[in-house]
Amino acid sequence: MVPLSTLKEGERGVIAKLGGTGTFRKRLREMGFINGVEVFVEKYAPLRDPIELVLKGYHVSLRVEDAAKVMMEKLAQDSE
């Protein structure tokens, strides 16, 4: 398991565990960050924070510090 924030642009992984507490955790869960969901790292912002992700067919951004709380199972890169 690796934190989502260590994934690079163009990499993908599957959510293994949602860390953090309280509102943050619940909010992420409601936005679809559920164990087993595949996440694609679309890009980092020009200042390297936040990150743009694609999951469940929509684009969402998270701050790097928050993304560090999402543990991922990294997937092998496929040719897109």
Binding site: G32, N35, K43, A45, P46, D49, H59, S61
Partner: protein, 727 residues
């Protein structure tokens, strides 16, 4: 046919096209206000349809109906307490899975629901085929397709609303989302306790209450607490159930419930959604690769902001000139029609000049909100926040706060209105409070006058340092407020980046008009009263005994020369001043009269307060009149230094007079700092009142800025004296 009123609430995720549907339904017959007690915008409109009167209430766009954000609380409170006859959930058909999450919560709430699959065209283009019949049956909710941007499906939706309101719809039935054996057992346990008091079940869905209690929802717990003795029993049961579930699942029940809801949605979508051809080319994604590119992202962003600035303040200057001329012409017309005297003076110098000072902002407001609507409707606003978040996060603000901050350099009034785009109440309040520290264009004439008079060649650097001081204070005060007033967990930054869309002109125009209407209606009142008060203070008492200069007779001055109100940060006072202060004698008389007026007396009275800052009584009066608008400081100094009210910041006579008055470069700098920090103008105060929806915050904003202004100026002046700089 009898006219029956049906209340209909619109809900949906942000970016689901809800606003467009609302506009399609209500057209221009809508009213924008605030939900009671909060800064969240409330939109309402009415539709007359087939003899029915539909009251459409647009609820804030939310992803869920928990109690985490003020928007969700507001939306939920309306659904639970106002009990609208029909609830319409607008769903982005091309993003079904996440959008249906809100629908599961609405189903649970037990409201009469209609599901609107909006942007059906986009979904089709992406190769998504949705079987609406099966979806409707699975959810027990009638489904309607719409394409909001082309106004398709509006009639079908209205027909369905009437059908559902009259219980004629055949699809509607109440379903339970099954949460699994253990969870259901505990839901039942809580419901059993609730049923001991049958009256609760009449007001709320007991299942919904039980689920919310298992989610540990604070707002619902408070409500249950108010039930009295039975409430205590319910809460005890809920707590016991939560503990048991926590042990069983090794996770919070609310997390499990969320998983189950998504599980239910996933199951439904397997039967309903067919994705035929996964189109490889995604235009929105390609556009975004350029607009938020690591190298191009910032230049593009700066360009867009620059263009917005140019459009708002440079292009806007032309209509402002016309309005200025129009107000001047009207003032002159009224002057010509009425005999000289108090009434004419009040009308021309008080009311027309005062109201003129508000209307002149209208072009700015219209253009600014046109640009902001364009950013929002295209989806670029989210990208701007994406790019700027790292920077704004330093002050503990959201990336989106950047735009209001930047607009503040033009004019704080529309900038504060632009904070409406911020979702978190806390961010919005903080942005509103620090926005006046960003130096608006109306303050520039004051800096030009003072810096030009006292700093000669280095005037440019001095003015720049004042702007920098403003930014530094905004950052400092922002941080200070963040750790004192707005403590607590910063809302997580989980921001959707919606696909780019082509906006419709109709929604852009409606959005623009909404804002402008608010501005005209609400600001007009406060400004009008404020201008009359300042006029009164400057014009009274009448007929004071004056002995000015070389043998002036005892003259009863009749034309109260009031500080003309200039507005746009430009240099000319309104040409509505009826008194032509041609010769020096009249000017001297005017100066003496103003010194004897209430305003002058007030200036003398408060001067001791400003003594540590090095202000004389004239400066004190100028600072007082500057409450109406900052550029008035210049014209007031003009009057008081007997160079005439049409003095501007380039006037050589005023500069000489200022230097002769004993003001030092240090004193001038302290005054500039004071002008920078204390409340920018009456219009801004009115906007703050309007946007915070609270006199308390308005008072706080005025109060803290005055204290800060005094403190910083005092520090500069006394520090300078001590160090012997600039005296």
């Amino acid at each position: 046919m009898k006219k029956e009123t049906i209340t209909l609430a619109l809900t949906g995720n942000p970016n689901s096209g809800k606003t467009t549907i609302f506009n399609n339904l209500t057209g221009t017959r809508q009213h924008v206000g605030n939900w009671p007690g909060v800064t969240v915008e409330k939109k309402e409109g009415t539709v007359l349809y087939n003899g029915y009167r539909l009251r459409v209430v647009d609820l804030p766009g939310t992803y869920s109906l928990t109690a985490y954000s003020i928007e969700e609380i507001v939306a939920r409170r309306f659904l639970v307490d106002a009990k609208p006859e029909v609830v319409v959930d607008i769903v982005d058909a091309s993003n079904l899975e996440r959008n249906l999450y809100l629908a599961t919560q609405l189903i649970e709430l037990g409201v009469k629901l209609i599901l609107v699959l909006n942007m059906a065209d986009v979904a089709n283009a992406r190769g998504h085929q949705i079987n609406a019949d099966v979806l409707g049956k699975l959810l027990g909710v009638p489904v309607v397709f719409t394409v909001g941007t082309r106004n398709e499906g509006t009639k079908a939706l209205l027909d369905k609303v009437v059908e559902v309101a009259e219980d004629r719809d055949t699809v509607s039935r109440h379903i339970h989302i099954s949460y699994g054996h253990e969870m259901e057992k505990e839901i039942k346990n809580i419901q059993d306790v609730i049923w001991q008091d049958p009256s609760i079940g009449q007001r709320f869905s007991t299942r919904w209450l039980a689920v919310k209690l298992l989610e540990n929802d604070t707002a619902v717990k408070e409500r249950v607490h108010e039930f009295g003795e039975i409430g205590g029993k319910i809460l005890d049961q809920a707590e016991a159930s939560r503990t048991r579930l926590n042990e069983f699942y090794q996770d919070d029940p609310e997390m499990v419930l969320t998983d189950q809801r998504y599980g239910f949605i996933g199951g439904a979508l397997k039967e309903v959604l067919k994705i035929s051809s996964q189109s490889k080319f995604d235009l929105s994604r390609q556009v975004d690769l350029v607009l938020t590119n690591r190298i191009l992202g910032f230049p593009v962003f700066v360009f867009f902001i620059w263009a917005m600035f140019q459009l708002t303040f440079t292009v806007g200057a032309y209509p402002m000139d016309w309005i200025d001329a129009g107000v001047g012409w009207f003032g002159a017309l009224v002057s010509g029609l009425l005999p000289p005297g108090l009434l004419r003076d009040l009308l021309v110098n008080g009311i027309i000049a005062g109201v003129g000072s508000v209307i002149i902002f209208l072009p700015n407001i219209l253009l600014l909100f046109f640009c902001i609507s364009l950013f929002e409707d295209t989806g670029y606003m989210a990208r701007a926040a994406f790019i700027m978040d790292r920077v704004m996060h330093v002050i503990g603000l959201h990336g989106k706060s950047f735009i209001p901050m930047l607009m503040g350099f033009g004019c704080n009034a529309p900038a504060i209105m632009a904070t409406r785009t911020l979702e978190s109440e806390r961010d919005r309040l903080l942005s509103i409070l620090i926005n006046p520290l960003i130096s608006c264009s109306a303050r520039l004439p004051v800096y030009i006058l003072l810096a030009g008079t006292f700093f000669g060649a280095s005037a440019g650097n001095v003015i720049f340092s004042i702007y920098a001081l403003g930014i530094a204070l905004a950052i400092g005060v922002g941080k200070l407020f963040r750790v004192t007033l707005f403590r607590g967990e910063i809302a997580p930054f989980v921001m959707e980046l919606p696909p780019y869309r082509v906006p419709t002109l109709k929604s852009l125009l409606i959005h623009m008009w909404d804002r402008s209407q608010i501005f005209l209606r609400k600001m007009g009142g406060v400004i009008l009263v404020g201008s009359i008060v300042v006029w009164f203070l400057g014009a009274f008492p009448r007929n004071v005994e004056l002995s000015v200069g070389q043998g002036a007779d005892k003259v009863g001055v009749t034309g109260g020369q009031v500080v003309p109100v200039t507005v746009d940060g430009s240099h000319e006072p309104l040409p509505s001043t009826p008194l032509a202060l041609g010769d020096n004698r009249e000017q001297a008389m005017e100066q003496a009269r103003l010194e004897k007026s209430f305003l002058g007396k007030l200036g003398h009275a408060i001067q001791p307060v400003f003594d540590p800052l090095g202000f004389d009584w004239r400066t004190s009066v100028a600072v007082l009149t500057g409450f109406v608008a900052k550029e008035i400081v210049v014209s007031t100094l003009g009057v008081l230094h007997a160079t005439g009210a049409d003095a501007n910041e380039e006037s050589e006579a005023l500069r000489r007079s200022l230097r002769a008055s004993g003001m030092t470069p240090l004193g001038a700098y302290a005054l500039m700092a004071f002008v920078l920090i204390y409340i920018p103008c009456l219009a801004t105060v009115a906007v703050i009142r309007r946007e915070t929806n609270s006199w308390k915050w308005t008072g706080f904003s005025v109060g803290y800025s005055l204290v800060l202004a005094w403190g910083v100026s005092c520090l500069i002046y006394q520090g300078g004296l001590f160090l012997g700089i600039g005296i």
